[in-house]
């Protein structure tokens, strides 16, 4: 099973051009790249036909240096059927219309419809289709302007939230670095549970957060080992935070029937938990045979949201 990851986010204070609206003072657009999905951008509305809420990123003349192969929206509150959830590219401008502007409704260069990345685990049908709050897509572009667009008129909150927006490059551990089949990926859902003397359970759902243990074994190529080493250095520079798609072999599922959505693997914004010893490895022999290497990961919390 290949493991895909993204470390650096191209969106920052310099490249984020603007958003269609923002709910100040608490939920402003700078939260899109604060590496804290629990503190989001909150648009003032839900968009309407022809007038979406949007996030626009402007790489300007340097766009050639920003090869975008991964785009992700983390901790959104979109419903299961928004009218629009797209990533678009345009060479001219982030602004719509006017001299030198981009016609983002009809004159853009390309569009990726991301709506199919919202619904997961809907096999029971009916009401309880589960909306996963993270949506990711692979692409390969170097255009100057990227725009995420949202129209979700049925959103019960009355506004759209985006915890984190990411444009970056995905990587995979190459060569023979694999998670072993039957990997011990134990999701640990953070819940408070108390049990009384007589067996009564009192459980609390806390914020959505999940733990992983990724174990790599039997890596016996010095180049693979160095690749892992570089990965660790990059992640450490990024505060231990990165994006991971643990099961990335079904990323492009086939949409064979309209009623059955294609399956896309889940993506997570995670932090490394075993900070002190996560680089401890058992290395054997002259060729640095790595027998076992364990990474403890935890998804960044999505926080609590109150009604009203």
């Amino acid at each position: 099973m290949p493991v895909t990851y993204v470390v650096e986010n191209y969106i920052d204070v310099n490249t984020l051009y603007s958003t269609s609206s923002q709910d100040s003072p608490f939920y402003t657009m700078d939260h899109l790249y604060n590496e804290r999905p629990s503190w989001p951008l909150r648009f003032e509305g839900v968009g309407s036909a022809g007038i979406p809420e949007w996030i626009c990123v402007d790489f300007g003349a340097q766009s050639g240096l920003y090869r975008v192969t991964f785009a992700g929206i983390f901790n959104h509150n979109l419903t299961i059927t928004p009218e629009r959830f797209s990533l678009k590219g345009c060479a001219t401008d982030c602004q719509s219309g006017g001299a030198g502007g981009c016609d983002w409704e009809a004159g853009f260069a390309w569009e990726i419809d991301m709506r199919s990345r919202i619904r997961h685990g809907s096999f029971c049908g009916g009401k309880y289709q589960y909306i996963f709050p993270n949506s990711c897509v692979k692409l390969d572009q170097t255009i100057e302007h990227y725009r995420f667009e949202f129209i979700d008129t049925a959103n019960p909150d009355g506004y759209i939230e985006v915890g984190e927006a990411v444009l970056g490059e995905w990587c995979q551990f190459g060569r023979n670095v694999h998670l072993q089949p039957g990997r011990p990926d134990g999701p640990v859902f953070y819940m408070g549970n108390q049990e009384t003397l007589y067996g009564q359970d009192w459980s609390n759902y806390y914020s959505y957060a999940e733990g992983f243990t990724l174990t790599f074994k039997n890596i016996n190529d010095i180049r693979n080992l160095d690749e892992l080493q570089m990965f660790l250095i990059r992640v450490q520079r990024n505060g231990g935070r990165f994006i991971i798609i643990p099961d990335d072999d079904k990323f492009y599922g086939l949409d064979m029937e309209a009623e059955v959505p294609p399956y896309y693997p889940l993506c997570y914004y995670v932090i490394i938990k075993n900070m002190g010893d996560y680089a401890q490895r058992l290395i054997h022999g002259w060729d640095k045979d790595l027998r076992e290497w364990t990474l403890e990961l935890k998804t960044l919390t999505t926080g609590l949201k109150l009604i009203g």
Binding site: S38, G158, T196, Q200, Y205, G303, L304, L306, I307, G308
Partner: protein, 945 residues
Amino acid sequence: MIPYKEWMDFDIVTLEGHDTVNNAFDDPIDWTNIHYGYGIVGTYTQGATNWWRWFTLIRPKGSDFILDIPGRDFPVSAVIDYKATSTPLYWHPAGITQLSLNTNTLFENITEHIWDADKATGRYIDGVAEEWDNYPIWTGHWFCDTIGCPGLFAGTDIDRTDVIGSPTPPPHQIQVELAARFAGGENMWSGREYFFRNGMCLRVSAWAGVVNYNKAAFFVSPERCKIKYFNPVVNSFSRYRISPAGGDTLVINGLGFDNSDADINEFCSCWTTPCLPGSTWTDDVDKIEFWTTDGVLIATITSGLGEFTLNSNSQITIASMPALAEGTYYVNLIKQTVGTNIGALGSATGYAGDWRTDSYGRMSEGSRFELLVADEEEEEDEPPNPRTRWRWGEHDGEVFAYYSYLDTRGRDTFWEGRIKNMSPLTRMIDDRTGLFGVSDVSVTLANNDMEMSKMLSRYFLRNKLVDFYYGWGRQAEAWDEYFFQGVVIDYDLIGTHFDVMVQDVTQKYFGMDTAQHICTLEEYPFIHESAIGKSMPDALGLCELIPATADENSGAIEARYVDTRAGFYSYLAAQFSLTGITEVYSNNVEIFTPADYTVAYRDGGRTYIDCTANQGDNKITYNCVGYSVGIWDDPTNGYIQNPAYVISFYLTQIVGMPLALLDMESFDDLAALYTTNNWHQSAKLILQDGRDAMEVLRELLYSFGANLWIAKDGRLTIGRKDITNFATDLVIFQQIHAFEHAKREYNLQDFVNAANVQWDYIPTHSTFKYAEEISSPRSIEDYGKERYPSTPWHFPWLVSEISSGGAGLGLVEQRMREELLKYDFGYKKISFKVPIQMIDDLDIFTNFRYQDPFGLSWTKEGEKGRYYYISSLTYDFQDRSIEVVGIDLQYLIGQYLIIGDCDALSSDWTTGSEHNRIYAAVSDCDTGRFSNGDPGKVVGPCDTV
């Protein structure tokens, strides 16, 4: 009953006029630029070219005394209570035979001018340079001639004989009203803007018999301003969550939904023109609106279309709620046109929850109710999430910060998930003394991103309030509930950690000595050396020590010798106005008025004993009836005697605690309880020397058998357990709720079955007036020995009667008995730990029943619900638990045979509920069992029945 708001603190200034030209006071120079921060009204004619005049402006203190506060902007009428005190010294010689005391609303012509409470003088409105726009100020500034009715005291004459006839004339208690008169003349409605801007003016007028060198003056002190409002007030909804589909029934309870005309017209009858001749007010709630929390009107229902029913002045029923989209809504109640039939005044409105009323109709500020429209299942698995609000201070203001364990997004607030650790919090009552206790809390906040380092570079936290509250996920932030309010006492910054120590907010007030005012050379240049630095005495209730034998210790309180000059010989009796001084002693020899002394009130209401002859180094002591505060006074005797109000006076006036920190409703309820038992004249308090404020409070609570605790809302709440207060529907099950077996403590090392009791303390002579010995023969017999407490039981602030004079026990005897009952078979408690989910159900003093399979039972069946009340709660959000300590109510219930209501209870033991079974039931005489075989009680010796 109409919702009302009352104010008890006032801004007050006296404006002094001194005209040496023509007695017209019509030039600015006719007014002195001296600021007087207390109240005098009067007149003085000192010859043909020397006239003096004083009048007093009063205005309820606080930023909330303004007209346009949402939900409290439509006044009905006003009542003002104040005291006026004069003495022969201030009314002499006999020329002026009558004075008229008037009250007016103050109309300031210059728009937006408000007199400066700290600086205003007769000359300047701001005490500096801004002149009043007209002199004399009493022309062109009265909005109405006189508030009040001709039949009432104000506006009529006070005879000189009222003052001169008594050597220590009591204060005149005066009430004036501003009626809701609608047509003609001045009234609350037409004068509301002036009234709320500049308050009232008290003055004398129409004096009869004035000649030169005549002076007549009163010290005046305002006590209460009560204003009724047309605005409807909602206290509760029958449900706070309704279905989006609509159709649910919602019952709204509150006050002022349709006031009676008689209540509105209460003060109108004395006017020559009645308020509403032949008409009605029609002030019913006839429209209800539902608004989203961001201000969009979504739905409206009206009574006219039958969409809701006005059941009474205090209840509205919406039989079928309209369908509303998911979300939270504010509910606005509207009286579309008050006074339609007599000329419309406009709409009186009120959002539900903005204001609440207590059982008397008194309004206090609340948070706006949010009606949650959502399907029920969304509430599953919601965690109680503690949240905190911090005030970072800078030299000229504060900024708020919000921290929680977890990033939490609300509509109006974002709580940063910055709390790394928070120690458990304990709120408790020490049941042995009645005193409250709150643990300190330490909070560790994350500083990994240097946010705390940044804040500390500019702001400070010391002495700033921190609010702790909790809410549940997927609910509106307005539903958050307080569980603690603290004040920051210290903090440490340790790299990535910021550790803060927080202490209970009341410590801000209690870390003090009761002697806030002492006698100084600066204030009293001619003070006797023995009085320098001594505290000014305070006295509440009946304070007297009259010896059976002359020359023994006499007089309950020692006065301070503050003016030794010949012709003055003045002794400070108390720092406020005593209601009366009954006996005075000089070195234990009684002296008499007016031959030996007179009582005077000066310097803003202090009480003095002015002796006619020099008493030298003699110790001057006196007996008195203490302070009076109008509404807290004993209705018969006219001064504070009720134990509940002695404590409220102590907390507010001596400790200086703001009223907002006290749950005054609980004090009123407790006062009523004392009155019901005929104990309402049993309390006193003498503060002779400075003492630790908390220690005095402990003595008061213990004397009166009262408990004081900090409720979840952060306010000090008072109560007393008695037989009317033990029933409960709350049952805590060992087998469901408790994490481990409950610990039943017997505390037999504390058991006491005999005690010496002393009460009615005289601090001046360090003596108790009364003592008694009591014992519990049954406990002595069972345990085979008498056991006394290590020190005698002291009830220092109870006055002397053993019995109440009626059929019941006096408070002294009641206190002795209940203390002995509490301890004569140990001091029984229970402690256990329950899930944090129960936080909404549990508060201090809450009664509960505890189900315990290991409870005491002869048949080994355990206990299905023994009665306790909560004395301590420890919240531990990290452990997700609450530790509860309960006091066994056996000592209380065991004193009674509880009969119950014959019609409401089952006649048969088998079919009786567990709750029914606490009431008296008699088992079969032969078998000693009830109808289902349970062992029972037999009444008397069976074979003789």
